[in-house]
Amino acid sequence: MSIILDISKVDMVFPTPKGDFTALKGVDLQIKKGEFISLIGHSGCGKSTVLNIVACIHKATIGGVLLNNKEVTEPGPERAVVFQNHSLLPWLTAYQNIELAVKRVFKNKMSKAEMKEWIEHNLRLVHMDHAKDKRPDEISGGMKQRIGIARALAMKPEVLLMDEPFGALDALTRAHMQDSLMEIQQKLNNTVIMITHDVDEAVLLSDRIVMMTNGPAATIGEILDVNLPHPRNRLALAEDPEYNRLRSAVLTFLYEKQRKVEHISVPDTDKVKQKSSSVA
């Protein structure tokens, strides 16, 4: 399959009052069409920065991003983003939130009726058609995130960028959302980059897991291919040796090779931490 997105030797340097801070160093990643990539790493390692560079919310200091062999310089709906905090506009209903995006992207390409149908189609896709006239503060966190995903999908993006989409949700809702996302992915076969903290989520959803080293000057440490057949079932996979091998590979990377050394002043938690890491 052809390469759709090329993140090419990206460095990111933030100027600070104490001098330059190199957040990313030589991040280089090629993504094929229809691939589902997870970016995993400890917090503060620059995963979000990578995503923001692809979305062009930040501009890379060195290097750049090619979409279909063309450099991207400005944010655009072809690289739709699902933000961590849903970021729905609270003064608009679910339907209107998606409408704002659809009107912008398909202004002269769709008739009014087609737009309505397309918005409702996307709402059905995330199982939220029953709440189309609700405002964000009237629905739960998981429902908000579903609308956020519907909004991004409604832009028909070439690459869908997801910044810890389920990070703010409770464990049960998160599992439910992951299943929904797998179901949608099965239908649409989008190209996706998803940032996550969650090892299970990464293994369950991805075709490749990109593991990042700790900052400063973070970069790609290892890339793990996930060759589990689709559709995947979380219960069946729990017993699967390949699934568990992948899972422990990610865990090993995160907790041994890139063990985050944090200075915690409370001695008790320090001990517990050491114990748990020696077990892992």
Binding site: I57, P75, A80, V81, F83, N85, L89, P90, W91, M155
Partner: protein
């Protein structure tokens, strides 16, 4: 009052009913009876102290004097209206009579020139304050958005705002009066000069809270919404219309409520000093008049001014509840 509550308490015997009704009762006490108790205490204290203050115009007016005055003022208004009606009827009759005698006669129609009553003054004041406030809003909201969006514009304008914000309306008034009488010259003016004076003074003073709050609302806008706009690559104007303006609506309303409160205070002062028609002038005229009724009429005006100010604020709050998406910011 406590006797009443006790009676109700003993009247309900089953325990479970007690549990349901007691909180309801407590709530009623808190929301209705306590404010009433406060008002009663105030009235009592007022009439006691008023009785013991002796001025050159007689005793300081107590609640009963004010209540009598209120009725008086309404009656005066009605008499004045009747007089006006009678005047026009007389005029019409006279004109018709002259027309019947001499068909070539051009009838003269003169306006009634009776004095403005208290109720007329209230209406004048309300019209003036709302016009001044409206003009201020029309200037302040776009300006606030522009300042909020551009850091450089903010740097340029901020010192001016900070200097003019604390200026009292009384300092502006002479300048406004002189400028208006120099610039606003027309043989057939659409608005009276006194109206324009008050309007500009009100505008100048109620401008700043709205500008500051609007720009604050824009600056403190959730960065996620800005990112949404970026990803959609919305054009600048659409960005302002669809994202910036709705996002800052709660802050704009906060500014508008502050401004309207200031506008009302400023207006009364401006009317007093500049002899512009309105409630302020009513107070001043009564003070100059110095009759035995003057103090109670002024006290009535004070209370009416307060009530109208309160009403304006509640109206604004109601408007905010209707129009703002952020219900939590529309609290008292």
């Amino acid at each position: 009052m406590t006797a009443l509550i006790n009676k109700q308490k003993t009247g309900i015997t089953p325990m479970n009913r007690n549990k349901i009704i007691m909180p309801l009762l407590l709530k009623k006490v808190q929301t209705f009876i306590l404010p009433m108790a406060g008002i009663c205490c105030f009235l009592l204290l007022w009439s006691l102290t008023a009785n013991s203050i002796e001025t050159s115009l007689g005793k300081f007016p107590g609640p009963s004097a004010v209540a009598t005055q209120m009725v008086n003022l309404v009656n005066e208004h009605n008499t004045e209206r009747d007089k006006e009606k009678a005047f026009y009827i007389r005029q019409d009759e006279r004109n018709e009579a002259r027309m019947a005698k001499d068909p070539s006669y051009q009838p003269k129609v003169r306006m009634y020139t009776g004095k403005e009553t208290f109720l007329d003054q209230i209406v004048t004041s309300l019209i003036t304050v709302l016009s001044g406030f409206l003009v201020a809003a029309i200037i302040a909201i776009p300006l606030g958005i522009a300042i909020g969006l551009s850091k450089n514009l903010n740097r340029a304008i901020n010192p001016i705002i900070q200097v003019f914000k604390p200026v009292s309306p009384l300092a502006w008034l002479p300048l406004v009066t002189m400028v208006v009488s120099a610039v606003y010259v027309s043989p057939d003016p659409m608005f009276a000069k006194s109206f324009v004076n008050s309007l500009i003074t009100v505008t100048l003073c109620s401008l700043w809270p709205m500008v500051i709050n609007t720009s604050f609302g824009v600056v403190s806008m959730n960065q996620d919404w800005v990112n949404v706009s970026k990803v959609l690559s919305l054009p600048k104007l659409v960005h302002i219309q669809k994202i910036v303006l709705p996002a800052s609506v709660p802050a704009i309303f906060t500014g508008m409520r502050m401004s309207l409160g200031i506008a009302w205070m400023v207006l009364i002062a401006a009317e007093m000093l500049a002899q512009n028609p309105g409630l302020g002038k009513f107070v001043w005229d009564e003070f100059q008049n110095g009759s035995s009724q003057s103090l109670s009429r002024i006290m009535t005006a004070v209370i009416v001014i307060g009530l109208i100010g309160y009403m304006l604020d509640r109206t604004m709050l109601q408007l905010q509840r209707m129009l703002s998406w952020d219900k939590s910011s529309a609290q008292l």
